[in-house]
């Protein structure tokens, strides 16, 4: 029997570098140089750019200057619009998080520190490209100028909620904004995005699809099914992995990050993989643009890993001080995406501190006003805001008899209870 003279086997269990109370030391983090990575032609075969999965595309340097071939050379309006959308996303998160704390609704999730990964991506896509988000891509809707009052109505499950109070807060759906209904079940949107892209290709359309999931979610089988189908059919799809280092209390090592990068998942499937600094809006824009060009020209799918940090708790149900060091976020070497883009536009001479402060004030006021507007339609805490009838609608297109009977029974029940 082999192995007899070997030491006994041992099971490896990943462990993060830092836990609560630990002082965080990122000195062995090698900061990739902005502008150092070459930009391959968009038609390059995946096998020729495998190294792209192990480097990191960065455009903004420490001084906020745009460097290298990946600089998307955006017009000032676009840069300022991205900055504004990111700032609005943050202001929105802050206010709605507080609304949950005030008991106005049941749940909220912030995307603080990750705003660039959806806002900059949305700007690089066409408006009619179809987005299949996870629950942390509110920045897509905001970048697409979706009315924030509509989002708040959903968060409050109030009378004006387009989803009729059926979904957990922030599980938006906005077909007109080409934003797919968010599922609470992780990564289900991934194969769906691939399927949408396959349909678009089979119909000779020009639209592409994009999906987002967290790094933790890449462990789900759906991620791998999506990758296989995307590769086999060369689907015109962009598969984004938001590597914010944490999945609730589990660090990225539990999704495989000790051994390789998430971008490198692409290699085994024969898909193009890019790894970008997710806190660098210009890098996110440039990578998305590259992948979109590629998809639109029939060169197939791209997997993009956005390297970022979840600056806040997982959700309002979470307390991150229980499992990670608070110092981690403070010292995160890739900085804050809003501060970095702000520095860039100030450096370009198209923005300044005064205007930024004024914008922040204006956006906070705008969110406050939208919240007030939404509250006219009620808040979850006020009680049942939807018509009881609506509960039985949309289970099927046409309500079958058994549901009609149950609906009747429910209404009788309400009467019996005097409600």
């Amino acid at each position: 029997m082999t192995g007899r003279n070997l030491p006994p086997l041992s099971l490896h269990i990943p462990e993060p570098d830092f836990r609560p109370g630990d002082e965080v030391d990122y000195s062995d983090f090698e900061m990739p140089v902005a502008g150092a990575v070459a930009r391959p032609a968009t038609e390059t075969a995946p096998a020729a750019i495998r190294d792209m999965s192990y480097v990191m595309i960065r455009v903004l340097d420490d001084e906020g200057r745009a460097q290298g071939m990946w600089d998307p050379r955006l017009a000032p309006e676009t840069l300022l619009k991205m900055l504004r959308s990111m700032a609005l996303t943050r202001a929105f998160d802050d206010r709605l998080y507080r609304a949950q704390r005030q008991g106005k609704t049941s749940f909220y999730m912030k995307c603080t520190g990750e705003e660039a990964t959806s806002v900059a991506a949305a700007h690089a896509l066409a408006y009619d490209d179809m987005c299949f988000p996870s629950y942390r891509q509110q920045g897509l809707l905001i970048a697409r100028d979706w009315p924030i009052v509509d989002m708040i109505n959903q968060i409050y499950s109030n009378r004006a909620d387009r989803l009729k109070g059926r979904q957990l807060p922030i599980m938006y759906s906005a077909r007109e904004a080409n934003f797919f209904s968010i599922s609470g079940n992780l990564t289900t949107q991934y194969p769906q995005a691939v399927g949408w892209a396959m349909a678009s290709a089979s119909r000779g359309d020009t639209r592409i699809a994009a999906a987002w999931c967290g790094e933790g979610s890449t462990a789900e089988g759906d991620f791998h099914s999506a990758m296989t189908f995307a590769a086999v059919y060369r689907a015109p799809v962009i598969l984004n992995v938001i590597n914010n280092q944490w999945a609730i209390s589990s660090f990225s090592g539990f999704a495989g990050a000790e051994a390789t990068t998430f971008a490198a998942r692409a290699i085994g499937y024969g898909i193009a993989g890019l790894r970008v600094d997710g806190n660098d809006a210009l890098a996110v824009y440039a990578a998305t643009q590259w992948a979109a060009d590629r998809a639109r020209n029939n060169h197939g799918p791209t997997l993009i890993e956005h390297f970022t940090y979840r600056a806040e708790g997982h959700s309002t149900s979470d307390d991150p001080t229980k499992y990670r060091s608070a110092d981690e976020g403070v010292k995160w070497p890739l900085g804050d995406p809003i501060a970095r883009l702000k520095k860039h536009v100030i450096g370009l001479g198209i923005w300044d501190e005064e205007r930024h402060a004024a914008m922040d004030k204006e956006l906070a006021e705008m969110v406050r006003a939208a919240q007030k507007e939404a509250e006219k339609n009620g808040i979850l805490a006020d009680g049942l805001k939807q018509s009881f009838d609506s509960m039985f609608e949309d289970v099927f297109e046409v309500m079958p008899d058994h549901l009609r009977d149950q609906q009747k029974q429910m209404l009788e029940e309400r009467r019996a209870a005097g409600i």
């Binding site: 209390s249 289970v395 058994h402």
Partner: protein, 347 residues
């Protein structure tokens, strides 16, 4: 494994989470083949804190976090079990068990049968289920009927801390795969369905007196919660408390049976009760069509036809996904149950 003649130890007041934690602790202390795995169960101790402190006590190779893959969690649990371990995987919410369905239904449940006993999968899948916490459709479902329908899988649902601990230890020791549904609405205190009233903590109830040490509550044995003459109420999980509340409020002399285990089912206790009362109401939070209530209703009809004085009624959730804001119109609360009892008691 040392089957000690140890006593159940001193009795302490526990809520359901503490009782489940204590069950895991006792099981892990007695048998070093037990392992706990699942999303966030290690350092953090689980999103509901059911595994708190266990990693520290038993080490990282016996209590560990997993990748977010329910399919993987159940699949590796089956593999570990076939090696000879006794895995206790946690699925964070029952709503997220579906990616693991194939491993549970096609593999764990059938391994003994298809290998004629050569391989077995003594795993206990713990998972919080049920609504009433404003969790929306992906934190509220009650999918127990799907699992009860699978041959080779035992389905257990406790309704209080004492039973939770005893049943969980029994499930872990059982040599067949068990799915153990934890009614999360009553983790901290029983819930009578009156969502507008404050919930009393478990400490005010007798079932929170839980022995520190080892004991079991056998699988397949229902519990007679209350004796009564006029009607039998069959319930499990959270609905046991809703039923108890309705009995207290209405004064109906109902016999209340907490099933505790759906598979194997304690048919004897059910039949004896319905033969006595002549009436039966079946209660569950899950959707109605094809729900476990249908099975119960059929069994009662088969065994008690000649004793029945009224049709068996089912009180259930509606056949819709679990809505967020209309949660309380969906939940089979006191009004729905009272109405059903009135109908059954009419003639």
């Amino acid at each position: 494994m040392s089957i000690a003649t140890e006593s159940a130890g001193e009795t302490r007041t526990m809520n359901m989470i503490q009782a489940i934690n204590s069950a895991l602790d006792v099981a892990m202390g007695r048998d070093d083949a037990t392992v706990v795995l699942g999303e966030d169960v290690g350092f953090f101790g689980g999103v509901f804190k059911a595994t708190e402190g266990l990693q520290k006590k038993y080490g990282k190779t016996r209590v560990f976090d997993t990748p977010i893959s329910e399919n993987g969690i159940i699949g590796v649990a089956v593999g570990m079990a076939t090696y000879g371990l006794r895995p206790i995987p946690e699925i964070q919410f029952a709503d997220y068990i579906y990616p693991g369905l194939d491993q549970l239904v096609s593999e764990a449940a059938r391994l003994r049968y298809r290998s004629a006993g050569e391989f077995t999968a003594p795993i206990t899948v713990r998972t919080p289920f049920g609504g009433g916490i404003f969790g929306g459709q992906t934190h509220s479902q009650s999918p127990e009927a799907l699992f009860a329908h699978v041959s080779g899988l035992k389905t257990v649902i406790p309704s209080n801390p004492y039973d939770a601990k005893g049943l969980l230890i029994a499930a872990i020791e059982d040599n067949d795969p068990v799915i153990f549904f934890e009614p999360k609405r009553i983790y901290n205190g029983p819930f009578d369905g009156h969502y507008d009233r404050p919930v009393s903590p478990w400490s005010r109830f007798a079932e929170s007196a839980v022995p520190d040490g080892y004991y079991t509550v056998p699988l397949g044995k229902a519990k007679l919660v209350r004796e009564g003459d006029d009607v039998t109420i069959l319930a499990y999980g959270t609905m046991v408390h809703v039923a108890r509340g309705v009995i207290d409020e209405t004064g109906i002399d109902a016999e209340l049976i907490d099933l505790r285990t759906l598979v194997p089912l304690d048919v004897e206790t059910i039949v004896a009760s319905v033969r006595k009362t002549g009436r039966c109401v079946v209660v569950h939070e899950a959707t109605r069509t094809g729900g476990f209530g249908a099975e119960l209703s059929a069994l009662v009809q088969e065994h008690c036809f000649h004793s029945l004085e009224a049709p068996v009624e089912r009180v259930t959730g509606w056949d819709t996904p679990y809505p967020h804001s209309l949660e309380w119109a969906y939940f089979p609360g006191p009004v729905r149950l009272t109405e059903a009892l009135k109908r059954v008691m009419q003639d």
